[in-house]
Symmetry: C2
Subunit: 91 residues, 2 copies
Amino acid sequence: MLEIISRGETYGYEITQQLRELGFTEVVEGTVYTITMRLEKNKLVDIEKKPSTKGPPRKFYTLNAAGQEQLGFFWGKWEFVSSKINELKTK
Amino acid sequence: MLEIISRGETYGYEITQQLRELGFTEVVEGTVYTITMRLEKNKLVDIEKKPSTKGPPRKFYTLNAAGQEQLGFFWGKWEFVSSKINELKTK
DNA sequence: TACTGGTAATCGGTAATACAAAGTACCTGT
DNA sequence: ACAGGTACTTTGTATTACCGATTACCAGTA
């Protein structure tokens, strides 16, 4: 989700759909929103509310500096863990 | 841990050391044992107690059929998730 | 005008997981 | 007797995963 948000401002409902398109077909809104809430709580995102023509106002998220940093940490860890797991798998 | 156990019977203390050698240097015993407990609870392992010359008896684990199956599930999921994440990373 | 359906966010709750500090037990060597 | 390595267990906190249900907003239509 950090990575998805890093590509440009987006909101919960849209993130859900993007995840579904990505192949995580069974992801439901509740799951996504608990994560957006966490991002808010941890102050990793900036928030801007904008009206929608198709329903209630959208809460747009963008990564702030802390969020960028967190995303960097994530990729570092991912690199480490996934290489180890793949090593374990093939060896 | 399922993968490690699948390579031949082993016990908690040894698993901890193997994980450390693998690069997960900060893994402590408590963490490993909570997982072995879970494996027991979920009946994914067979257990055999054997005396040790260097301390208290060891509790050796081997994967049973359910454990093998679970490991298979894991690798399937790993394949899926890691490919998606990498796709997200590079795209 | 009521209602259906898609869009959008929140709330409330359960179960599982991660992680570790501390404690117990066993054994060998000094 | 005790220090130190081996080995397992207990106990506890915080976080995470996950989702069902609810609320809200809006457009079309019957």
